[in-house]
Amino acid sequence: MKRKGKGPTALLLVLTLLATLTAACTGNEGNAPEAGEQTEGPNGANAAEAADNAAPPALDPVELKVKLFGEKPTDMDAVVAEFESRSKEALNTTLDVTFDVAAEYRNKLKLMLAAGEEIDLAFDAPWWDLNANVSKGYYHELDAYFNNDDYPGLKAAFTPEYLEANKIDGHIYAIPVTNTFYDIPVVLIRKDLREKYGMEPVDSYADLKQFLDQVLANENPKAFVPWGGGRNTWYHVFANFDTKQTHYRAFPFEITGTGALFNLVLSEDGKQVLGATTLGDPDEAYSGFPAPLNEPDFFYDHYDTKVEYRKYLPSDPLAQNQTTTVEGGAHETTLNSVASDRQKLKETYPDADYEIFVYNDAVRAMESGAIATGFKAWNFLTVPKSSKNVERTMKFLDWVFASPDHHDLFELGIEGTHWEKDGERYYRVTEQTPDYAFPAYEMTWNPQLSRINGNNDEETLKYIEYEYDQDSYYRMALSGFTFNPENVKNEIAKVQPKFDELRPVLEAGLDPEWRESAGKLNAQMRALGLENIREELIKQAQDYLDSGGQ
């Protein structure tokens, strides 16, 4: 009798459990079509009607998902609200902008793309996975939205030349985001310290060395080293800028994505690939190159300098989190970051100041045609295939780039609160500027619309103006070329970790016998398939040149 009594209870229990399970599963399914309906509606309506209707009917509301990296500005929501109220009639669009920590964003984006999560606008860059993601077909091709009178804002802000240089496989898969075509790297010197030592402004590497020696001699080495920061602390400093890279590509402008980095050398007319050399190759490998490229030291003697400068770095130059522990008398950055670096310094030491040292001689003299570029942006915006709101996303971007006012709102925040106008080209920071530290370089930077920070010192402003001038640039060899790793990815996966093990050691100047170590590394890499990568790189570069690429 007792047994029978248990039956119905057990059955009920099982049914309840199963019901919860299935409810959890179908819950998701139930949501999906809902979201689809909501978003597909305006899309279809748009495509059909926008074309023949001069005054399109009020648009259905839509929410765009925007993915960026970095820290979310404190007043981001206020700016988004301002945008939504200003554009209500024209766009009827709300924004969901999310920020991820840079280190996580890259992997997260890859996963979200692979999983087909719905994203309408996402940051990506060739120094992350842009090219791979495009070749995997993750992104919408956006050719139709540019140079199109239905999108006047985009048409004006993105000139055909600008877009041409930034196409991938001949199409616009990613919208270039940059204000200039190169951000001049500079060494920031602690001006107050330099004056304390009674020195003239730093104008050469010899001066720089003298300044660093003074810091070493005068400051407390426990808390203050001449060159703070650690790994990757030398950016382009000490690179060889004597020859323009019009018929070769090498540090600091190597072709990336090849596992080991190569020096790729072309014939002087730029039509024929003469060869590619890498770290530790024997001298003979260089013999076929025109002078001065026929000496390995032309490409690598900066490693001697780095050994010499080792004493100015912290004791643990390769340690993780090095930058958070030690301060320095000088460091490297780029023009665009000078103002914010200075602001940070002033927060701790109100009386301290920075001044810049431009170490590329031709650039320091502001010669025309001195800056190497491929007229390519470093950062891009993409519309993933998973987006159901391509048109509405592009309408949104069209709005942003349609007028300086719109553009300023996203780039700088609310006028009068986060920034103030300073003439046509400049802006001034206010007390609330830190509340809207928007990473404009991920979304809004534009050669024509971006304002220059008027709070910079005169010297810096002079160079920023120079940077904005198209005549300051020259076109690098193979500027439109990107390497496709597909055929040699096994070799790259084997060579890359080997190469990456030695390079930081050389960069930090930790190995005085670096030539010997490089030779050993080279032999190991050859055993792992270096030659296949080299051949593939030369072949692809030659194919690119043969098909008329520059």
Partner: protein, 322 residues
Amino acid sequence: MSEMNALSETVSSGKRRERFAFFKEIRKNGKLYLLTLPGILLILVFAYLPMGGIVIAFQDFNVMEGIAGSEFVGLRNFEFFVQSPDMLRIAGNTLYLNALFIVFSTLAAISIAVMLTEIGGRWFKRIAQSLVILPHFVSWTVVAMLLSVLLNTEAGLINQLLAAFGVDAVQFYSDPDKWPLILVLVKIWQGAGFGSIVYLATIAGINPDIYEAASIDGASRWQKIRFITLPLLKTTVILLTLLAMGGIFYGDFGMIYAIVGLNVLLYPTTDVIDTYVYRALMELGDLSMAAAVGFFQSVLGFILVITVNWLARRFSPDSAIF
């Protein structure tokens, strides 16, 4: 009574009878088995169905074309990993570090559990327990920051202390030999408190009569720990170690990458399979090659679990999982 009969029937009957008994058993206790159905479904959906995804380890997988459309390439994705000359060193590091972690974390967790049990004051006990569990919830990135404040050569606490005594600074971040010890200490600090929870529960489940009997026989506190608590924890220890074995080929990426990062000087002792593969595939971003390595790690882990379980069954049948 009827259950006992069913049992003896099953045991004593032959093969045909056994098969028959299976249906009989289902008919008899069907509703009880039905109770396990949701759990079985759950495991099926979230553990067995996804195993089909292993197939991408053998494909040149392209997300847009999906599993059905991607080209089958056999073992090509395993090549880079197996052919790499550093593989022995890296696999060795992974096993060595994980073995150290398992052994010392277990020892520390048991000590903590025993000590917490012996503590008398109720409030002190609770606070102590919370304090040792707390580090488990600190993220590795924060731990890495704390470590760098501690170990930095110029500004690190330890080196400033050494300097105060006139001792030369120790360059922790350039000396790989010190890192297995540092990592083990960090691991204990972070995980042993949390790991002690299971042991605490086991100890709480030990019959108090045994301790009482021992007290009457004049056993000291230490003797009770040595001859009652520890022997009775053996089953749990073996069980948890067995479970940990399954993951022994997986390096603790979150920990090691946050703390060591790209400091190449420490690779000789700290580079594990996961960090190595991360660096090798970071730029390529190839899902298939990553899946191949993951599959490789699971297979080795599986073999290890089977072996150790077999050993456990031979020497301590109660502790074996199956």
